[in-house]
């Protein structure tokens, strides 16, 4: 494989690029075939009695070893190779690499789960994370390619002049990439520990090894060819179980085309379940539980004393009556498991109360799958307000995710690696096509799994549930737990708690496929997380080494020195990110979404106006980026519970127009545009040289007629 990645720039460019592409086609065809053979061989070995632990280990070692191998073969110290893969990645392959770069652990594992739990509202992620590519194609990719440097702060620095815009760009790029990369490494740890049973922290560092060998040795060049390999693994891993489940339920192998009918059945079943007497019984029990807890929370101190007295009294009574030792030990545990003091009692009961309240709602608190927005536009005033608010937040979230997509530096950077403006345009098309394949499958998967849960699990005697229910409960009770609340021995929907992350990871088992497919799915998730982490780490290291060190501190640094510094920084950033991830920070999902709002507010207005409006000035761009980023940050800190905690904000939460903190970018982006436009009008126009630069990026090849 090594030969195919060698430099071919010296020869005639067009001819060499064509030959290079043909060579790549051959390599990746062999690779895909080899991968299938590998999976089939493992399946055969499983039938011959290979244990699950071994299958997990083999998948882990084989895939990480493969990515590391590509990294070693693509090692380089040449700046153009290290930063932009020599600018000769064909459009199709850059599309695949962008797909893998883009689809993170959240897309692969989390999205179908979100869709399962929230139905229509989850589609905001599907639309937002694909529609953003329209903005990439129309506003950014071809122009950035023509500009043709190495990073996004590069563009800000040259277009707006001076170090301030570049510095803000570096800061914003690191802010959004770092929060994002922590989440990816966390995902790597989670999957590795699931796949092989090693400890979470060890899993984090194992995965990190795979990431580092690749990006450390070969920079963008190694990352690109690894990402293509990872895309192939992840798309195969995602499709096989869904297709299988579809065949099982409908005898038709294209789930995306026919799950509409499954959705109809799910909706019909939802109506039945909402009024089912057994479900109502369970919900009534939870309602009482919530009421009891509300009562207790009025005076937690007294309630805790009363609970303690009652539990101890019961223990004394049992001992006096010489009850069987099992009953006594249960009563002892009841005493010892009581909250220790008033504060912890209050916290625990508040949590339990919220849970019980959710579970007293129809369908286990999930909205009907096909219902657009909560509330009712024709209902009373409150229902109307709920409806308007829910719709407004849905649209705001789409807006933030789309603009954020078009502003994340690790994605935009990929379009520097193609040979020409023409290929940059085609490459965005391929990127979206490859992303589309997974994104239009995720909603199908969610509906198929819901159908399975509603028709196979619900109403089944609890001791006859399929084996995967118990095995996932053992892995992590927060992903799957069942309590027979009304003691009828039969499962009701509200008696089951299911975590979103299980949906993709358990599909293979739900469909009754052999364990090797479960291993394959986990390997796919790993590929998704590793590929995104690769791209992000590279973005951070390049921002520091290329933009901060080379452009701002030591412009005379030699190429070799810059690449070396970049590699050292990469290692350090990766270790810091792994350290943060190993602490299992709270609310990691929120951090990921926050990265989109930050990127949107910081980069989008400055980049787009920089290309489309010659009059935009440097000082205006700096102020616009600061204002956009500032207001987004301010809104999140004052409204998001976890950030409020971190920054010690105690003022009451005041939502603007009811917009949730996750969509804070909806304020930052327009403000950024307004500030840049207004300030540009009152400052002196950019120099002739800058105006020439804008003209330069607007035309693929500006030449004398």
């Amino acid at each position: 494989m090594a030969g195919s990645f060698e430099t071919a720039r010296e020869a005639g460019k067009g001819e060499a690029n064509r030959a290079f592409r043909l060579q790549l086609n051959k390599v990746y065809k062999w690779y895909t075939g080899g991968f299938f053979v590998f999976v089939i061989a493992l399946a055969v070995l499983e039938q011959l009695g290979l244990s699950r632990e071994w299958i997990g280990f083999i998948f882990l070692l084989a895939t990480i070893g493969l990515y590391a191998g590509i990294g070693i073969m693509s090692r380089t110290t040449d700046a153009a190779e290290y930063y932009v893969a020599g600018r000769r990645v064909p459009a199709v392959y850059n599309g695949m690499a962008t797909g893998a770069d883009w689809m993170s652990a959240a897309s692969f594992i989390g999205m179908a789960g979100t869709l399962y739990l929230t139905g229509y509202s989850g589609l905001a992620f599907i639309m937002g994370w694909t529609g953003g590519y329209c903005l990439v194609a129309l506003f950014l990719a071809p122009y950035l390619r023509k500009f043709g440097q190495f990073t996004i702060p590069d563009f800000l620095g040259e277009r707006y002049g001076g170090n301030l815009p570049r510095f803000i760009g570096i800061f914003a790029a690191i802010l959004c990439s770092f929060t994002y990369v922590v989440a990816q490494i966390y995902g790597v740890g989670l999957i590795t520990s699931r796949l092989t049973g090693v400890a979470f922290e060890l899993g984090v560092f194992l995965g990190l090894g795979g990431i580092l060998v690749c990006s450390f040795l070969g920079g963008m060049r190694a990352v690109t060819w690894t990402q293509v390999a990872q895309y192939i693994v992840l798309i195969v891993a995602y499709m096989i179980p869904v297709v299988w489940l579809s065949v099982k339920q409908t005898n038709f192998p294209v789930p995306q085309a026919i799950y509409g009918y499954q959705l109809e059945k799910v909706t019909a079943k939802e109506k039945l379940l909402t009024n089912d007497p057994k479900e109502l019984e369970v919900r009534e029990i939870f309602k009482q539980r919530a009421a009891e807890l509300t009562e207790k929370l009025k005076d937690p101190g007294a309630a805790l004393k009363a609970d303690k007295a009652a539990a101890e009294a019961r223990l004394v009574e049992l001992r006096a009556a010489n009850a069987p030792s099992r009953t006594i030990s249960t009563a002892e545990r009841a005493v010892s498991s009581l909250p220790k003091d008033e504060a912890s009692a209050k916290a625990a009961w508040t949590r339990d109360k919220e849970l019980a309240e959710t579970k007293s709602k129809p369908l286990n608190g999930m909205p009907p799958h096909a219902a657009q927005f909560a509330g009712d536009p024709l209902g009373d005033a409150q229902a109307q307000a709920t409806y308007d608010n829910s719709r407004r937040n849905f649209l705001a979230l789409i807006f933030c995710l789309m603009i954020g997509t078009a502003a994340l530096p690790h994605i935009l950077m990929r379009y520097y690696t193609v040979p020409s403006v023409k290929e940059a345009r085609q490459s965005v098309t391929w990127s979206l096509f490859f992303i589309f394949l997974l994104y239009f499958t995720a909603p199908a998967l969610a509906v198929l799994v819901k159908f399975e849960v509603f028709h196979v699990l619900i109403g089944t005697p609890i001791d006859q549930l399929p084996a995967w229910v118990a095995s996932w409960n053992k892995v992590d009770p927060s992903l799957m737990s069942i309590t027979d609340v009304n003691k009828d021995g039969i499962l009701q929907l509200n008696e089951m708690s299911i975590g979103g992350d299980i949906i993709v990871l358990a599909t293979a088992e739900i469909g009754g496929l052999p364990y090797v497919i479960s291993g394959l799915v986990a390997a796919g998730g790993l590929a998704a997380a590793l590929s995104t982490a690769d791209g992000l780490l590279l973005t951070i290291a390049n921002a520091l080494s290329h933009d901060l060190y080379y452009k701002m501190i030591d412009p005379n640094a030699s190429t070799a020195r810059r690449v070396t510094i970049s590699k050292v920084l990469l290692l350090m950033v990766a270790l810091v990110a792994a350290y943060v991830a190993a602490q299992k920070p709270a609310d990691i999902l929120f951090l990921v979404s926050a990265a989109f709002s930050f990127a949107a507010a910081a980069f989008f207005p400055a980049l787009v106006l920089g290309i489309f409006w010659k009059r935009a000035t440097g000082i205006a761009a700096s102020l616009g980026m600061i204002a956009g980023l500032g207001i987004t940050f301010y809104y999140m800190v004052t409204t998001q519970p976890w950030l409020r905690d971190v920054f010690g904000v105690t003022t009451p939460i005041e939502l603007w127009w009811g917009i949730l903190p996750i969509s804070a970018g909806v304020f930052g982006v327009p403000l950024g545009f307004v500030v840049i436009i207004l300030v540009s009008m009152v400052t002196t126009a950019p120099s002739r040289k800058v105006q020439k630069l804008v003209e330069h990026v607007r035309y693929p090849n500006l030449r004398e007629p």
């Binding site: 529609g131 329209c134 026919i258 403006v421 345009r425 589309f436 239009f440």
Partner: protein, 93 residues
């Protein structure tokens, strides 16, 4: 190493090219806006059955994605042709 900016003066042909680019960009952006925000805004009203899906659900899950792909694909096709028409295409050497 600063970007090498050439000193070619823009001609009428060049500004025509840019105006056409802006026009197609605006048109495609309008389609993008309708498919995304207008359809989602009226999602509740647009819930007639479409091969089993409520129409707006299908649009959110598949229809809009297909349109996005077509928008980008058409833009690439149109612009690559426009480059040649106005003599600003890249030459392979």
């Amino acid at each position: 190493m600063l970007t090498e900016v050439n000193t070619v003066e823009l001609t009428e042909n060049h500004s025509l090219y840019w105006r056409k680019n802006l026009r197609i960009t605006a048109l495609l952006l309008a389609i993008w806006f309708v498919v995304t925000f207008v359809v989602s805004y009226f999602a509740r009203e647009l819930s007639f059955s479409f091969f089993g899906w409520p129409f707006s659900f299908w649009m959110g899950a598949q229809g809009s994605l297909v349109v996005y792909c077509l928008i980008i694909g058409y833009y690439a096709f149109y612009m690559n042709r426009l480059d040649i028409e106005h003599g600003v295409e890249e030459l392979e050497d």
